[in-house]
Amino acid sequence: MKHLISIRDLTRDSAVALLDSAQQLSQVNQRTIKSLPALRGKTVVNLFYENSTRTRISFEIAAKRLSADVINFDAQSSSTSKGESLKDTAQTLEALGAAAIIVRHPMSGAAHSLANRGWVSASIINAGDGRHEHPTQALLDAMTIRQQKNSGDDLAGIKVLVVGDIEHSRVARSNMLLLSLLGATVSVAGPGTLVPEGIEAMGAKVYKTFDEALDEKPDVVMMLRVQLERMQKDDTFSTREYIANWSLDQTRLGLLGKETVIMHPGPMNRGLEISNQAANDPRSAVLRQVENGLAVRMAVLHRVLSGEDSN
């Protein structure tokens, strides 16, 4: 595997292998000396065109645990403000020795372009492109579900419900593709204006209301973050209505099964898409997700940079 751009790049078996590898690598994070020499001498660049402290730090720690040299390139405040193109920036980073470029970009397809247009030969890892995909987030979610449900290799038979702003969510897209690839049944529910046309083609069943979706007794409820910075520009968005219809509030929390796993990609808007009680509930796996993010990113970096896998 040279790059990780989209879940579409994975097969069921290669996805399971990544999860297995992440599971193994997660043990490193329990040790006193939390590092492996696997990527010693290799340079990994975090090329972030959007603010995302959490994802950037997660990748940074993951690379450091594998002994890679890590450079953080804050593209928002550097050459791009001088008009440099993505292509030129990436080529510059490669000339400086980058073996892998982890890219976060507000435009859908940016990571795909870096990987496929002959601009650079470095490995490209998509850390989120527009509303397209966020594959490492889906992998860490799958890893979390697998742990919480003790489900064996894949996620066969597990029912996952994704709730909220599907339209603008790359997390939702990557999860729909990956979780169904792994055998889970994925449903989505969200306000009509935020569930895009043709989403069923990505393998998800669409529910019109949260409560109707909860009647199906999902094993996992994944709450999406309301992108407030986006919604505040949208006159039709009403916070009050959103909370009434789409928040995992106390009442809905009571409808969940004892074993139902509550997930959220973070950062959470407590009191908006997720109530304080739900966020603090013992069924919440939010911090486990963060931990697993580290392991998954180590596994992905190792896979794309070790050259062991010609897939």
Partner: protein
């Protein structure tokens, strides 16, 4: 003097054609000498109702000379140059300048299209009457690239061109429904995370303008139709006797939105590539006459405008050099139509649309504008290299059927697949 020997015309008849002094002077069985055209198809010179030449303003992408070289290579003896240059072709000086550049290049007739509104801003009408009486004799007006969205302005424009029998060519795109739009709206756009461009944004403007054309009794042309619903609206309008014509591009007949999955901006075009069902409906419309003609929407862009992220890339693709080969594939090779229809679509009807009286005919006494098409020989798209830009969505492909000769005003502008400047 040129003699074309054994040329098969669109009606199936085999003729020799003698050309002298810029005109066709004799047809029939003439002599044993001349350019052998056995098994080749002779058609009235191709006419493109929709070309972007980029000069003045964007000479790094295309000039009138390079664009007309591409036109000659594609079999065109006349092209209509869109107004979205810099400065915009919105007054008589500017359209005359483009017209003169065409004459100077001498490879095909360049008919400037005038802007409908000043600076393509959609706020006030341009100097339409002045342009119509200028040396460039503009009869077709378009804000192409932008839609004349204001309904009252569109009505005024139709009334204005009616005075001299002109036509408004509308780029049908409701701007409010397509803010930030990147590709066809639907499941593919949803998966790719790109903002969708709903078909209705095109269709409702066509419907509105058809009604305005009906009410004003003026002529309306719809640029680059792309949706099955749009074909239905035009079909309805024609059934009501409304003076409406429509064009389709080669790429909307051949390519689909599935290509956008590559995020390669060579497939980024306005209006966007649609679905296979739309391709089918467009071809059916072309065959039954709902869609009148092919328009290339030849839109060259210099490298940096395409070698970037999808959303930062410019809209548009090359078209002049590949159009006839594609029409051959979708119409003739598929068996959907014959050479008479081919000639109507690529020459006669667009000539009529733009009031180009010297084009669209092969007959004694007519100006000699003739395209000789070789339906047997293959052409690799890499051979199509006359444009200054290389944003062709067909690179890597081969087509069967290519232009052998192009004759413009009685002289070869392309001879044996090679462009000739005079």
């Amino acid at each position: 003097m040129i003699i074309l020997k054994n040329l098969t015309l669109s009606d199936g008849s085999i003729n020799d054609i003698r050309i002298d002094g810029g005109q066709i002077v004799e047809m029939g069985r003439i002599s044993d000498s001349g350019t052998d055209c056995t098994d080749l198809i002779g058609l009235s010179g191709f006419v493109d109702p929709h070309t972007h030449l980029r000069e003045p303003g964007f000479e790094a992408s295309e000039t009138v000379l390079s664009g007309t070289r591409a036109a000659s290579a594609g079999g065109y003896s006349a092209i209509c140059a869109m107004a979205n240059t810099d400065p915009v072709a919105d007054d008589s000086n500017l359209v005359e300048r483009v017209y003169d550049l065409g004459v100077e290049a001498g490879l095909c007739f360049v008919q400037p299209i005038g802007a409908v509104t000043k600076g393509l801003k959609g706020l006030e009408l341009s100097s339409i009457a002045d342009m119509s009486t200028s040396r460039a004799k503009v009869t077709m007006f378009s804000d192409d690239g932008m839609c004349v969205h204001d309904e009252n302005l569109m009505r005024q424009a139709l009334l204005e061109v009616k005075k001299f029998g002109g036509v408004v060519a509308q780029h049908a795109q409701d701007p409010k429904m397509t803010v930030g739009a990147q590709m066809n709206q639907g499941a593919v756009a949803t998966e790719l995370g790109l903002t969708g461009w709903p078909a209705i944004a095109e269709e409702q403007i066509i419907a509105r303008d058809a009604q305005l054309a009906q009410e004003t009794g003026s002529r309306l042309h719809i640029c680059h139709l792309t949706t099955a619903g749009g074909v239905e609206v035009v079909r309805w309008a024609k059934s009501k006797g409304i003076q409406i014509t429509a064009e389709v591009t080669p790429h909307h007949l051949l390519l689909t939105e599935e290509l956008v999955r590559t995020y390669d901006p060579v497939y980024k075009v306005n209006p966007p590539l649609r679905t296979a069902d739309d391709n089918t409906a467009l071809l059916a419309g072309l065959v039954d006459g709902t869609i009148d003609m092919l328009g290339t929407d030849h839109a060259p862009h210099s490298g940096e405008k395409k070698d970037c992220e999808w959303e930062n890339a410019a809209f548009g693709m090359l078209g002049l050099e590949s159009a006839a080969s594609i029409l051959h594939q979708v119409l003739i090779q598929s068996g959907a139509g014959d050479w008479k229809l081919f000639e109507e679509i690529i020459s006669k009807r667009p000539a009529k649309l733009a009031s180009l009286d010297n084009h669209g005919f092969i007959k004694v006494g007519a100006q000699a504008n003739i395209t000789v098409f070789n339906p047997h020989e293959r052409i690799a798209v890499t051979e199509m290299n006359q444009s200054k830009s290389n944003n062709s969505p067909y690179l890597g492909l081969e087509f069967i059927g290519r232009v052998q000769h192009t004759i413009y005003q009685g002289q070869f502008s392309m001879m044996n697949q090679s462009v000739r400047e005079h």
